[in-house]
C-alpha cells in the first residue's frame, strides 16, 4: 500500500483525527489520553459497521488485530489500515515484524514498548492530545482529540565536540570528511543499537547524533533518555541517501516530485522503510554516472568540493529551517 490517509473516528462522545503517512505508526504518551478508546472504536466499527454508532471516515478500510490467531488474520487483511492496542505480546516478536514487512497494509500500533524489530520513523511516533474548544452553543460536549508528533525536535545551530554517526559505510565516510574540515571528532557507532553506548562513553562533551530518521524510531527513546546526563543534539534526516537526493546533485523532475510527497511513491510491501526506498532510488538514479552510488563504500566524487558543498548546503537548509528531517 502507498499513500497518506486522513482518518476521522468518532461517536457522540469523542472524535479522533489522525493522518497516517507510512506503513508503521506508533501511538504512545501519557495514560488516559484515549489510545485504547480509539482502537476499541475501530474494533466496534469493524465488527458492526454503521450499526455500532461509530463513524469512520477514511479512504481505506480500518480494522483491528486482536487475537492469538494474528498470523492468519494478517494474511487475510488486504490494503487496509490495521490498528493494534497494547496488551498484544506478539508485537515485539520477529515473526510479527516479518508479517508486517510482507503485508500490504499500514499498521497503527498503540504501545510504549520499544519494537526493535520494526523500522519505524521518528516522525511517525505520536501522542494523542485533547484539542476540544468550548463553543457557546454546543449541543453536546464531544471531546476532540488528535495526534501530535512526540519527537518533534527542532534542530539547533550548534558546533558539537563529537559527532556520532550510526552508519559505518558511506554516510560515515561523508560526515567524517565534513567533520575533519571543521576539526570535530567523528565516531561511527556501527549500528543504531550501539549509539547509546557511544553516548554513554562520551564525557562532558556536546554530542551530535546523526542517524537515519526513517528507521530510528525504536532507538529514539533510549537515546533521548541519555539527555538526563549528557549534552546530546540530533540530526535525523530520513537517510543519508535522502540528503544526497535533496542536495540537487541528482537531476530530474521525478526525483523532486518524489521528495515532495514520498508516501505516494513508496510501496510498503516492497520497501519496509523509506530508508530502503531512498537508497534504491539513489542507486537507480546514479547508475552509470560519475556519482554512481554504493551504500557500502562512498564514491569519492561525493567528496569533491562542489558535491560536498551541495550536500553540506542541504544540511544547512534543514538546520536553518529548524528541521531534523
Amino acid at each position: 500500500m502507498k499513500g497518506s490517509y486522513r482518518i476521522v473516528v468518532q461517536n457522540n462522545i469523542v472524535q479522533f483525527k489522525l493522518q497516517v503517512n507510512r506503513n508503521i505508526t506508533i501511538i504512545r504518551g501519557d495514560s488516559a489520553t484515549g489510545k485504547s478508546t480509539l482502537v476499541d472504536m475501530v474494533r466496534q466499527y469493524s465488527l458492526n459497521g454503521q450499526d455500532s454508532g461509530v463513524n469512520i471516515s477514511c479512504e481505506k478500510e480500518c480494522t483491528v488485530l486482536v487475537g492469538v490467531r494474528w498470523q492468519s488474520e494478517i494474511a487475510s487483511i488486504k490494503n487496509s489500515i490495521v490498528f493494534l492496542d497494547e496488551g498484544l505480546e506478539f508485537i515485539s516478536e520477529p515473526a510479527f515484524a516479518a508479517a508486517v514487512q510482507a503485508s500490504d497494509n499500514y499498521f497503527v500500533i498503540a504501545t510504549r514498548e520499544t519494537l526493535f524489530h520494526l523500522p519505524y520513523s521518528v516522525k511517525e511516533v505520536y501522542g494523542l492530545r485533547n484539542v476540544t474548544r468550548k463553543k457557546k452553543y454546543q449541543v453536546f460536549n464531544r471531546i476532540y482529540s488528535e495526534f501530535y508528533p512526540l519527537y518533534d525536535e527542532k534542530m539547533v545551530r550548534i558546533k558539537p565536540d563529537v559527532v556520532v554517526v550510526e552508519d559505518s559505510n558511506s554516510g560515515y565516510q561523508f560526515f567524517s570528511a565534513l567533520c575533519e574540515k571543521e576539526g570535530i571528532r567523528c565516531v561511527s557507532a556501527k549500528g543504531n543499537s550501539n549509539i547509546y553506548k557511544v553516548i554513554r562513553e562520551c564525557g562532558d562533551e556536546t554530542i551530535m547524533v546523526v542517524a537515519d530518521g526513517a528507521v530510528f524510531g525504536p532507538e529514539m527513546e533510549r537515546v533521548l533518555a541519555f539527555r538526563k546526563a549528557k549534552k546530546v543534539v540530533y540530526f535525523l534526516p530520513e537517510s543519508f541517501e535522502w540528503l544526497i537526493l535533496r542536495s540537487g546533485l541528482i537531476d530530474g523532475a521525478k526525483v523532486q516530485e518524489i521528495l515532495e510527497h514520498p508516501y505516494d511513491f513508496i510501496e510498503s510491501e516492497k520497501y519496509f522503510s523509506w530508508e530502503r526506498f531512498f537508497t534504491a532510488l539513489l542507486i537507480q538514479e546514479t547508475k552509470g554516472t560519475y556519482l554512481q552510488y554504493s551504500k557500502s563504500r562512498l564514491n569519492e566524487n561525493y567528496l569533491n568540493p562542489k558535491e560536498k558543498r551541495s550536500i553540506g548546503e542541504a544540511i544547512r537548509q534543514l538546520v536553518e529551517n529548524g528541521q531534523t528531517s
Partner: protein
C-alpha cells in the same frame, strides 16, 4: 522500595487490562488511595462500586479506566505479582514510587519510564543496582531493553 525488571521476563502479567477486568473487586474502588490515583491519572471521580464519572467519557464502568490506572490499581492491591507497567504513561510514575514507600513493589518495564527529576530509590533487578536519579536509571536500564 520500587523494583524494576527491564525487558522481557517470565511470570509477568502482560495484558494488565484483561487481567484487571477478570480479577476486579468492587471494594477496590472504596480505597481512598485508589480514588486519588484515578483522579490523578484519569481525572475521573469514583461515584460507587461500579460507577466512575470520567471527564472525557461520562459515566463509565471500572473496565473503562485507562490502562495505566488499571495497572497501578493491580500493583497496589497485588504486590506479590509483577505487572507489565509499560501499559502506563509517565503520568503514572510518581504513583509507583509513592505506593512502594510503604511496601515493596516489583514492576516490569519494556521502555524507559520517565520518573522525573525527583530523588528516588529504585532497585533494578536485572543486575541488582539501586539507582537514585533518572540519569542513573537510564544508564542501567538501556542495556536491558
Amino acid at each position: 522500595m520500587l523494583r524494576i525488571i527491564f525487558g522481557k521476563s517470565r511470570d509477568i502479567i502482560y495484558n494488565t487490562s484483561m487481567y484487571f477486568s477478570n480479577v476486579f473487586q468492587k471494594e477496590w474502588l472504596d480505597d481512598p488511595y485508589v480514588r486519588k490515583m484515578i483522579k490523578g491519572v484519569d481525572g475521573s471521580e469514583v461515584l460507587g462500586d461500579y460507577l466512575i464519572k470520567s471527564k472525557a467519557l461520562g459515566l463509565i464502568a471500572p473496565a473503562q479506566l485507562s490502562g495505566g490506572v488499571k495497572t497501578l490499581i493491580l500493583t497496589y492491591f497485588l504486590p506479590e505479582k509483577i505487572f507489565n507497567a509499560s501499559t502506563c504513561g509517565d503520568n503514572c510514575a510518581r504513583w509507583f514510587l509513592d505506593m512502594s514507600k510503604k511496601q515493596d513493589r516489583t514492576i516490569n518495564l519494556r521502555h524507559i519510564m520517565d520518573f522525573g527529576d525527583r530523588k528516588m530509590d529504585i532497585q533494578i533487578l536485572n543486575n541488582g543496582a539501586v539507582v537514585h536519579s533518572m540519569s542513573e536509571l537510564v544508564d542501567v536500564a538501556a542495556d536491558y531493553l
